[in-house]
């Protein structure tokens, strides 16, 4: 049974049936799942959630699917780690890292694709598809396989090799498009108009995007049913930031946690920072950019949810920062060195921006702070390969070892 009443336009409020539709026919505004919160409030409780399996479906009342036949690989409920060593380096006394590398295909995209593919199967689709910067491609290829679906995955042709292999292994039709993500997206929206496929981030978007709320739910549950004071989230389209906010607000609305003014901070790469740029310029008009950054999973020059992300940042009294390629690499290394987590480039952006926000005083050093690491560094090894210490090769004897170590020490 579903608690979703309809799909509803975020701009004009027009309602639609719960089908594969993503844009309002009247004003082109994005459609979003509208829930019966009163009913959810009656039916949901901390105890009920706590008794369920440790995956995203423990929050099923607040997810937009009808049944309980989930297309799942046990995604979600990833570790929330108290990051004291990183916090000490940055001067943050209550820092946590939400490590979403610990998902089945090693990024937060498993959350959104689990929801989108489950709903796609409910609606009778036999083909799962997406336009992707890499992580989403991996998740669609894997979850499509898990659900017994055909898979068409579209990526920019210049993607990191690790992300390409991590899609190909699931045997989808993988199409590399000559162009950047925005070009892939435009092509896919034309394809989606013609073929009857479930494009997770196009016609399934109202369902897909809701999966990201689970990051907000889990954070609150893992903090002992409390929202954090301030969070730092990587931004490409801006969707993740708005959904972590929405998830937390929903938890408040249905009475699972107390009301709190959580501050939202967004992180972008300098080479693709339309949202941060608009924030700093105090405008709500976005100028699309041609991305030029090693953080390819954030390289969306035309942010579809940028307007809402900016609004959320401003309304929550948060902020936004950006990080250069060099700072991104340093961010990845800093997180790995202090906390033992190997993040992808987007995680480097988050950590680098976290550092800047801490240094500038934008973040309260005493407040409970959560930084979101959304994908693993194993997929983007090229980004750091040339910036690491080299292997010390020695002969297999004790003298050689000690000679090397003495050299290294001196």
């Amino acid at each position: 049974m579903s608690y979703v009443k309809a799909l509803k336009c975020r701009e004009c409020g027009q309602e639609y049936e719960k089908v594969a539709k993503y844009v309002c026919e009247f004003c082109f505004g994005p459609l979003e799942a509208a829930y019966d919160y009163d009913k959810i409030k009656k039916d949901i409780s901390r105890e009920k959630i706590a008794a369920r399996p440790l995956n995203i479906w423990r929050y099923r009342e607040l997810l937009p699917v009808e049944g309980t036949n989930y297309n799942t690989l046990e995604e979600g409920y990833t570790p929330l780690i108290k990051a004291d060593r990183l916090g000490k380096e940055l001067g943050l006394k209550n820092l946590y890292v939400k490590n979403d590398c610990a998902n089945p295909t090693h990024s937060f995209k498993d959350r959104v694709v689990a929801v989108a593919s489950t709903r796609a199967l409910e609606l009778g689709f036999d083909t799962l598809s997406c336009a992707s910067t890499g992580n989403l491609a991996n998740a669609v290829a894997a979850y499509g396989a898990r659900g017994g679906m055909k898979r068409y995955v579209f990526i920019p042709s210049n993607l990191e090799k690790g992300k390409v292999i991590a899609s190909l292994i699931y045997d989808p039709k993988l199409i590399g498009v000559n162009g950047n993500y925005d070009d892939v997206n435009r092509l896919c929206s034309e394809i989606a108009g013609k073929y009857k496929w479930a494009f997770v981030n196009i016609n399934m978007r109202p369902y897909y995007a809701e999966g990201s709320k689970t990051l907000g739910f889990e954070t609150a549950e893992q903090l002992g049913w409390k929202a954090p004071d301030q969070v730092v989230v990587p931004m490409a389209s801006g969707s993740l930031l708005t959904k972590i906010w929405k998830g937390t607000q929903e938890f408040i609305k249905v009475g699972l946690i107390a009301d709190k003014k959580m501050r939202m901070f967004g992180a972008q790469a300098t080479g693709c920072s339309p949202i941060t740029t608009a924030y700093k310029a105090k405008t709500d008009t976005f100028r699309p950019v041609k991305p030029n950054t090693i953080a390819k999973s954030l390289a969306i020059g035309n942010p579809a949810d940028g307007y809402y992300a900016l609004k959320t940042i401003n309304e929550s009294n948060g902020g936004a920062e950006m990080a250069s390629d060099e700072e991104i690499v340093e961010g990845i290394k800093l997180l790995a060195r202090t906390e033992g987590i190997f993040a992808e480039t987007a995680g480097g952006v988050t950590v680098a921006c976290l550092k800047k926000l801490a240094e500038s005083g934008a973040l309260d050093p005493d407040a409970v702070t959560v930084a979101y690491i959304t994908g693993t560094g194993l997929k983007t090894q090229e980004a750091v390969a040339d910036h690491l210490n080299q292997v010390q090769v020695i002969q297999p004897n004790l003298e050689a070892f000690e000679a090397t170590q003495l050299t290294a020490v001196s």
Partner: protein, 92 residues
């Protein structure tokens, strides 16, 4: 001058389900104005009361976002293709 205009699914109820229509004009804004002659109501879906392309609509001239060109004033010539694409989320 006639150009080809690609119509996205949500607007095809205004074009008799045609995915592609032809329109006359020398600039993007003229094309958008003229679209409504044959397809009643189409213009109002695409631009606001000031003639600006709506926030959630992207317009491309031969695969280039018009915001990288001269916006609504961008000149068009015979044989060009204009794509109208709703904004799409992805990445983070």
């Amino acid at each position: 001058m006639a150009v080809k205009v690609l119509i996205p699914t949500p607007l095809r109820n205004l074009t008799n389900n045609q995915a592609e229509v032809s329109a006359e004009g020398n600039s993007i804004s003229e094309i958008i104005d003229n679209l409504s002659k044959n397809h009643n109501g189409l213009r109002d879906r695409l631009v606001d009361e000031n003639g600006k392309v709506r926030r959630f609509v992207n317009v491309y001239l031969n695969e280039e976002d018009i915001r990288f060109l001269q916006g609504e004033g961008t000149a068009v010539k015979a044989g060009d293709t204009i794509s109208i694409v709703p904004a799409i989320a992805g990445g983070k």
